[in-house]
C-alpha cells in the first residue's frame, strides 16, 4: 500500500485558554483512549507482536504441528547452513528481486516522466493502474496462458519472427525472469503513480527556467528530475524491494518452484517446508533468515539513501 513516512506533525491541541470543565474532561481521556485503542491493541499484540516472538522461538524447535514443539537449540540453523536448497532459494530470490525491481523501476520511471511531460489525464493514469487491481493469481494465470509453450500468443508471435518456442514457465533459465516480468506487469503502474506523485513536488518553474537557458529534455531529466526525485525514488525502492523479496503467489500458481528448484524462491520453500512436510520449526528458521535479509537490505538502503537527501529545500 501507499507509503508511510512519519511526519512529526503533532499539532498543538493545547489551547491555553481552556475552561475548567473542559479541563476535567481532558483528564478523563485516558480511560476512554484505552477503550478506543483496545481492539487495535489486541490485534497488534496477538497478530503482530506475539507471532514475531513466537516465530523466533519456533525457529529453535522441532515442531510438526501435532505434538508440542521440542526445543532443539541451533539445530535448524545448522541444518540451514548446510542446506543447498536453502542457498539456492536465496540465490533464486535475489535473482528475482534484481530483475523484478530493476525492470520495474526503470519502466515506472519512464512512465512517470512521460506522464509528467505529456498529460495529467485521469484516464491514462487509470489505465496504467488497472493491472494492480487484479490479484497476483489472476496475473499469474494470464501470464501462464499468454506465454504457454505451444498455444500461448507470446510464443506464436515469437514464431512469426522465427524465434522459439521458449518454455517460459518450463525451461530452467527462463522461469525466474518470466515470473519477474509477470509481476512487473502487475505492479509497474502502481510504482509509476508513486513516482508521478513525487514528480508533482518538483516546482514547474525549474523546468521553465531550464528551457529558457536552452536545456534539452534529456538534460532536464538528469539535472533537475533525477536529483530532486532521489529521496522519493529511494523510498519507492525500499518499499518495492521488501515486497519483492516476499514473492510467492505467482510461483505457487505457475511453476510450484520448478523445474527442479529453478523457481523455488525462499517464501515458497518456507511454505513447502511447513505445509508440504510439516517441519514448522525449520520453516520458522527459514523465515527468520528471510527476516534478517530484509532487515539488512532495509538498513543498507537506508544508509545509502540518507547520504544524499533532499536537494529540494
Amino acid at each position: 500500500m501507499a507509503s508511510h513516512v512519519v511526519s512529526p506533525a503533532g499539532r498543538p491541541t493545547d489551547t491555553q485558554t481552556r475552561t475548567p470543565s473542559a479541563n476535567r474532561r481532558r483528564r478523563d481521556d485516558t480511560r476512554l483512549a484505552l477503550i478506543f485503542i483496545a481492539p487495535a491493541a489486541v490485534g497488534f499484540l496477538v497478530f503482530l507482536i506475539w507471532p514475531l516472538i513466537r516465530g523466533i522461538y519456533l525457529s529453535f524447535t522441532s515442531f510438526n504441528l501435532l505434538t508440542p514443539a521440542q526445543f532443539n537449540g541451533l539445530d535448524n540453523y545448522r541444518r540451514m547452513l548446510l542446506d543447498p536448497v536453502f542457498w539456492n532459494a536465496l540465490k533464486v530470490t535475489v535473482e528475482y528481486v534484481i530483475i523484478n525491481i530493476g525492470v520495474q523501476t526503470i519502466v515506472a520511471l519512464v512512465i512517470a516522466v512521460l506522464m509528467q511531460r505529456l498529460t495529467r489525464s485521469m484516464v491514462v493514469r487509470g489505465i496504467i493502474l488497472t493491472p494492480y487491481l487484479v490479484s497476483n493469481v489472476v496475473a499469474a494465470l494470464v501470464g501462464l496462458w499468454i506465454l504457454d509453450t505451444s498455444l500461448g500468443i507470446g510464443n506464436q508471435l515469437l514464431k512469426l519472427i522465427g524465434i522459439g518456442p521458449i518454455g517460459f514457465f518450463s525451461d530452467g533459465p527462463w522461469v525466474i525472469p518470466t515470473i519477474a516480468l509477470v509481476n512487473v506487469w502487475r505492479y509497474v503502474g502502481y510504482t509509476s503513480l508513486l513516482i508521478f506523485a513525487g514528480l508533482q513536488t518538483i516546482p514547474g518553474e525549474l523546468y521553465e527556467a531550464a528551457k529558457v537557458d536552452g536545456s534539452s529534455e534529456v538534460q532536464m531529466f538528469f539535472r533537475i528530475t533525477m536529483p530532486l526525485l532521489r529521496p522519493i525514488l529511494a523510498l519507492v525502492l525500499i518499499i518495492s524491494i521488501i515486497g519483492s523479496f516476499q514473492v510467492f503467489d505467482t510461483v505457487s500458481v505457475t511453476t510450484a518452484g520448478g523445474p527442479v528448484n529453478a523457481s523455488r524462491v525462499l517464501q515458497f520453500y518456507i511454505y513447502d517446508m511447513a505445509f508440504g512436510r510439516f517441519q514448522f520449526g525449520y520453516a520458522s528458521a527459514l523465515a527468520v533468515a528471510l527476516l534478517i535479509v530484509l532487515v539488512i537490505v532495509s538498513f543498507i538502503q537506508y544508509r545509502l539513501t540518507r547520504a544524499g537527501q533532499t536537494d529540494l529545500a
Binding site: 500500500m1 501507499a2 507509503s3 503533532g10 475552561t19 473542559a22 476512554l32 484505552l34 478506543f36 485503542i37 487495535a40 489486541v42 490485534g43 496477538v46 497478530f47 503482530l48 507482536i49 506475539w50 507471532p51 514475531l52 513466537r54 516465530g55 520511471l109 519512464v110 516522466v113 512521460l114 506522464m115 505529456l118 498529460t119 485521469m122 491514462v124 493514469r125 487509470g126 488497472t130 493491472p131 487491481l133 490479484s135 497476483n136 493469481v137 494465470l141 496462458w145 499468454i146 504457454d148 498455444l151 500468443i153 503513480l193 508513486l194 506523485a197 529534455e217 534529456v218 531529466f221 522519493i232 523510498l235 510467492f248 500458481v253 517464501q267 518456507i270 514448522f280 520458522s284 523465515a287
Partner: protein
C-alpha cells in the same frame, strides 16, 4: 542512486526539443513520447483483451487457431462451466475437468472475508486514530510510535505463527479465521486516518463539548461523518487488497466451505484435465474473479488513483 542514474530513459526526447521559436512544442520528441506512452498502455491492457477473447472461445478451436486475434469457435460454455450450469459430462466434452466448482460459494466467501476485514479495519483503526489524535492521555506518543513500528514487521514473518495461533483457536477452515488477523489492526490505516483527523479543526469539537456532547458522541457524530472521504478511499483499498489476498487464505482454508476466489482459481488451474488445460474455462474463471474489483475500480477510479502518493511525506 548511481546505479540508477544511467537509466535508459527512452523518453526518446532527442535534442529535437531545442528551443525553437514555435513554442507550442508539437515536436518530434513529443510525438515519439506519445507513441511510447500508447505502446505502454496497449501492453497494459492487452492481457485483459486476451482473457476475454479466450474465455469466449471453445477449447478445440483454441488448439487449432492459437493466434487468431478474435474469439474462435465462439461460445459461452466456459462461463457455464464456471458457474456450474453445465453437467460434468458436457464439461469434459468441452475440455473441462468435469469437477464441480462452487463458484457462488467462493464468491460469497470472498465477499464475506473482504467485508469483515474492511469493516473491522476501518472501525478499529478509526477508533485508534481518534485516540492518537484527539484524546489526551499520558502515553499517547510512545504507544503510537510502537504501533507504527508494527509497519516494519514483514507480513511473511507473521504467517506461520499466526497459522499456529488460528489452529489453536480452532478457526482453521473458517471465514473468521481468514479475516481475523487483518480485521483488528492495520498500522497503516491508523497512521493514514490519524493524519486526516489532525487536520479537522478543534474548534468544532470544543463547541460540541460545551454543548454537552461526550467524546464518544463527538467521534461517532462529528469526526466520522467529516471523514467520509478518507474512510471511503481507505475502505476501497482495503477491500481490494483483501479480495486479492492469496497466501493467507491458502494456508487457512482446506475445503470449499471457506475457500475464497483467489484460492479457488488456483485449485481450478491445478485440476488440469487429461486433454490439457481448460484454457477457455480458466480464463472465464479469471475474468469472473477479477471483474468485481475492476468494476469497483471503475466506480472509484479517481479516488484510488489520487490516493496513491506519499500521504505522509509532504
Amino acid at each position: 542512486m548511481t546505479t540508477l542514474a544511467p537509466a535508459e530513459v527512452p523518453t526518446s526526447n532527442p535534442p529535437a526539443v531545442t528551443p525553437a521559436p514555435g513554442h507550442k512544442r508539437t515536436s518530434i520528441g513529443r510525438v515519439i513520447a506519445w507513441i511510447v506512452m500508447a505502446l505502454i498502455m496497449v501492453v497494459t491492457l492487452a492481457p485483459f483483451y486476451w482473457i476475454i477473447r479466450t474465455a469466449l472461445s471453445s477449447n478445440s478451436d483454441l488448439l487449432a487457431h492459437p493466434s487468431t486475434p478474435y474469439p474462435v469457435g465462439f461460445s459461452v460454455d466456459s462461463f457455464k462451466r464456471v458457474f456450474g450450469w453445465q453437467t460434468g459430462d458436457a464439461a469434459i466434452a468441452a475440455g473441462g475437468s468435469g469437477q464441480s466448482i462452487n463458484f457462488w460459494l467462493y464468491l460469497r466467501n470472498s465477499i464475506v472475508v473482504a467485508c469483515l476485514v474492511t469493516a473491522g479495519q476501518l472501525l478499529f483503526s478509526a477508533m485508534a486514530a481518534y485516540a492518537f489524535s484527539r484524546l489526551k492521555w499520558r502515553l499517547r506518543g510512545p504507544v503510537f510510535a510502537i504501533f507504527l513500528a508494527g509497519l516494519m514487521v514483514p507480513a511473511i514473518f507473521t504467517f506461520l505463527p499466526n497459522f499456529v495461533l488460528i489452529k489453536e483457536l480452532h478457526l482453521i477452515d473458517t471465514l473468521l479465521g481468514i479475516a481475523l488477523p487483518g480485521m483488528l489492526i492495520s498500522p497503516f490505516a491508523i497512521f493514514f486516518l490519524r493524519q486526516f483527523f489532525m487536520t479537522i479543526s478543534t474548534e468544532v469539537e470544543e463547541a460540541a463539548l460545551i454543548d454537552g456532547a461526550s467524546k464518544v458522541g463527538i467521534f461517532f457524530r462529528l469526526i466520522l461523518p467529516m471523514s467520509v472521504a478518507p474512510l471511503t478511499t481507505l475502505g476501497v483499498l482495503t477491500y481490494i487488497t483483501s479480495w486479492n489476498d492469496y497466501f493467507w487464505p491458502l494456508m487457512v482454508s482446506y475445503t470449499d466451505s471457506s475457500r475464497v476466489l483467489t484460492v479457488a482459481l488456483a485449485v481450478f488451474k491445478s485440476q488440469t484435465p487429461q486433454t490439457g488445460p481448460d484454457w477457455a474455462g480458466l480464463m472465464a474463471a479469471t475474468l469472473v474473479a477479477a471483474l468485481p474489483m475492476l468494476v469497483l475500480f471503475l466506480v472509484f477510479a479517481r479516488r484510488i488513483v489520487n490516493s496513491i502518493g506519499f500521504s505522509g511525506l509532504k
